[in-house]
């Protein structure tokens, strides 16, 4: 009952906000929104090319999702950040429940990754990531500096992170699980975990690598082995890496031109609409194109870090950092993967890769950031 009262209060608050319309417009991070939309539009253009110059089947849908994403962002932005924080546990429980239900109702290729809801597919592991970040931020928000140093304070943290992590690993969706883990680690780190604990955890993590390896699925091990030596399987798992490198490299400095990527259009490049879309951009627009895309993402991440400095509420700062870390890791891992620096783990390029859930998560995250910025005055609540 205690947690339900803010929900009722929130309606009052939203009415309250309207009175300060000027500050609302001024406080909105328009540059961040602009960068996100620009990246999303690059995605539309890239998907148009991926379909050999056609709006179907991807580009149009991507544009629609971009609009829906912006709408969702706006809705979240209008929610009071306090309301989000107070209900963090509820979001987290919902995510856990959704992941658990996948076991029974999910559909998908081999692994139960999706819900199919009358034409719409939902990938609960992506929103779950956001829920974990919000839950972590809320937890650390409540944690005093003293308790920050106590080891037992981190038992709930383990629960918050590893329950959904384990569920996602078991799906199995290693890429998303790793992303969740990394983003969570950043939030925990930034929240102020003592240095000695960081060191201990890192050494334990290193020690756990052999154990983790033995627990990987055969295809996952194979991906890593082939990554280390693509010639092992030049026509199988190594094929993707090899072809992706050829596509990127043959793009050269300025690229082969829009819609002219032979690797992509002659189907040498696998998954060019999802995980390997950056390769296609690299083939058609060359090094310059890659720099523009990476530059936009870097700008987005820096803006988020910059905004976090302006926030005074721990919850807001941690959520913003979490969103920044999520986007940063998505981009880094995806591009490192397609350029042959990392094994193929199945991480999309946010806002550009075709796929509704990932885009929705990014916009929901940005919505949280905007909400945090708009509600700075609530800090002393």
């Amino acid at each position: 009952m205690k947690y339900l009262s803010p929900l009722i209060q929130s309606f009052d608050l939203s009415l309250e906000k309207r009175e300060t319309a000027d500050s609302w417009v001024g406080a909105t991070p328009w540059l961040m929104i602009f960068v996100a939309v620009a990246i999303g539009l690059i995605g539309v253009g890239a998907l148009y090319s991926a379909a050999h110059g056609a709006w179907q089947p991807w580009a149009l849908m991507h544009a629609i999702r971009l609009a829906l994403g912006l709408l969702a962002m706006a809705i979240v932005a209008l929610l009071p950040i306090r309301f989000i924080r107070r209900f963090a546990l509820l979001w987290w429980l919902m995510a856990i429940a959704a992941l658990g239900m996948l076991e029974f109702f999910g559909t998908g290729k081999g692994a139960d990754r999706w819900f199919a809801l009358g034409g719409i597919t939902l990938q609960p592991s992506e929103p779950a990531k956001l829920a974990v970040l919000v839950m972590l931020a809320a937890y650390f928000h409540e944690l005093s500096a003293d308790r920050m140093r106590q080891i037992r304070s981190y038992i709930p943290v383990l629960l918050i992170v590893f329950l959904p992590f384990a569920q996602i690993v078991l799906q199995p969706d290693l890429g998303t699980a790793v992303m969740l883990f990394l983003a969570a680690a950043v939030v925990i780190f930034v929240a102020g975990i003592p240095r000695w604990m960081v060191m201990t955890l890192m050494s334990m993590g290193l020690a756990a690598i052999p154990v983790a390896w033995s627990m990987l699925y055969a295809y996952q091990k194979n991906r890593i082995l082939v990554f280390l030596n693509p010639d092992l399987d030049a026509l199988g798992a190594g094929y993707q890496i090899t072809q992706s490198k050829i596509a990127l490299g043959s793009g050269g400095f300025v690229g082969k031109g829009y819609l002219q990527g032979s690797q992509s259009h002659l189907e040498f490049l696998p998954e060019r609409q999802t995980d390997f879309i950056f390769t296609m951009i690299g083939e058609e627009f060359g090094f310059m194109g890659c720099m523009i895309v990476l530059g936009l993402y870097t700008l987005l991440v820096f803006l988020l870090i910059y905004y976090s400095f302006q926030m005074r509420m721990t919850f807001s700062r941690l959520v913003t950092i979490g969103v920044a870390a999520t986007i940063s890791f998505y981009v880094s891992i995806n591009t490192a993967m397609v350029s042959g620096l990392l094994p193929v783990v199945g991480v999309p390029l946010p806002l550009i890769s075709y796929g509704g859930t990932a885009m929705m998560v990014v916009f929901l995250g940005l919505g949280l950031v905007i909400s945090a910025m708009l509600n700075e005055h609530d800090i002393h609540e």
Binding site: G251, G252, Q263, L294, I305, A324, A336
Partner: protein, 642 residues
Amino acid sequence: MARKARQLEHMLSRRSLLLGGVQVGLTSALVGRLFYLQAIESNRYEDLSKRNRFDYQVVPPSRGRIFDIQGRLLAGNAEAYALNIVPSYTSDLYKSLQTLASLIALSPATIARLMELAENQASFLPLTIRDDLNQREVARVAVRGPELPGVSFDRVEKRIYPQGLLTGHLTGYVGRVSEDDLAAGRALPELAHLYNGKSGVERTFEPNLRGTMGQERVLVNAFGRPIKRTIETAAVAGDDMHLTIDINLQSYAMSILQRGRNKPISMDSAKVKRALAQDPELAASNDGLVFEDAVGRIVPPEAGSVIVIDVESGALKALVSAPVFDPNILSGRVRHDDWQVLVKHPRTPLLDRSIKGQYAPGSVFKMVVALAALEAGIIDTGTHFSCPGHRDLGDARFHCWKRHGHGQVNILDALEQSCDVFFYEVALKVGIEDIADMAKRFGIGQITDIMLPDEKPGLMPTKRWKQNTVGEQWTLGETVVASIGQGYVLTTPLQLAVMTARLAKGREITPHLMDGGNAKTASDLGISEASLSIVRRGMQAVVSGRYGTANQSQLDLAGIKMAGKTGTVQVRRITAEERARGITKNINRPWKFRDHALFVGYAPVEKPKYAIAVVVEHGGSGSVQAAPIARDVMTYLFEQDI
């Protein structure tokens, strides 16, 4: 408390900044990596990308066609379809192949081979299941297309032989290139996926017929599926071959040879069916044609060879060997059953008797002996020998074919009546060396220039030959036997035709098959016209003389007469027991113990135009079996000419 909170906040900011640092670090690493790929290594990847995109494919040339002298097609190319499958497009390759096997002929062995092939190559590369589908088969597969993903068709060419059985030995056939073919240079490695000539003209003229491959640059997608084709080098079709053969004459000669002295009978008659059921040998040699012989038995067609040669040019007008095979069934995919029928056939249809059948020439060799003696000046038309029916030499007695002898005969009588004893006497005087020398001038014991593969040389024995191969001295008895073309002497029907042509012209006629080829002027044989005309007169008497052995086979044509010589070659001596039981007649002996029937001849006698050689394997008597065939074929030829 507040201090600690501040400290924590401080740390939060510091660590957030660290995240920014991490972002910069990661991005820098990526920028470096992309710069390496897209700027430094760009050229290498561009090459790889081009190699990815373009595939060079061989464009197979059209194989040259083979025509007869009138431009009638003997070997050509028909449109066929290759059936391909891309394993990666199928859900289950084995199941797809099983489905195909229910629509078209596809043996389990082929399926096994394809499955193995699929294991060892990339799954997006197409496999060729068959390359000889006809339109009906294509339709049958195409209708089931939706169930057969990854199945496609290609237009290809298939070798066809419109004359079928008539030209089997002549054109030969084509087949898949083997390792041996490549090693022996009979096929080009770049065209090894096509067919090459395995026998006959197809094999001899393989380099001319096969043409030159072209090259095509194909823009392919990642699945190897062609998007666009550009011809780099056009394929050059093989040369067409025009043979000197007249297919109508070939056909006529074939039918006359196969019928022999027998009566055609319907395959459907009860008698034939009974005979086929009772006689396994007849059943095995049954190729859809049977006859009834003089004593009412059902027999297969005669075996042997008929060769017609133009004595002016050496052009071969007919080159017949029987029994026959259909080159169409041996070209490409050979059915095991078809092959077994040919291999188990008791009369070896795969053997081209015209150039590979080696027969003792028998009495048709007597012209050579006569010329050797005439040229040596040992005899002339005035030389007479007495034939009492045999000639004794030491303890051995050599019989004449005529039991009570021919009495006093000169060279002309001896040729006309084929007196053996006359030639025994002559040979003993001339000696084997002079005979061998004369035989050599007529091409006996040597392969000719006709260039068909695996031609047999025959054999003309000499003293040295015997010493070298048998390791024994030549005996006079062997000279006696050789004088009537028996013993060691072996000739092919083609050699007999060439010998006859040379006799008729007195020139060194060389046979050829290619129209317009070998047009070299034949040199003189170096035999005096006087000697030649004596032998020719003898040969005229064989056909036209009162006692001529072939006088039943005169041409019934105004002003055209034929000269010739019969031969009857013993395959096995008649045993005393058989003589006692009265089984002396050929027809009463098993087929393979019967004599070979031979005839050589030319016409018209005044100005020879064509020479002919006829060998009826185990046919019996040359005058009864072989001479009429020559008569009929010559008649046909001159009726065409008029």
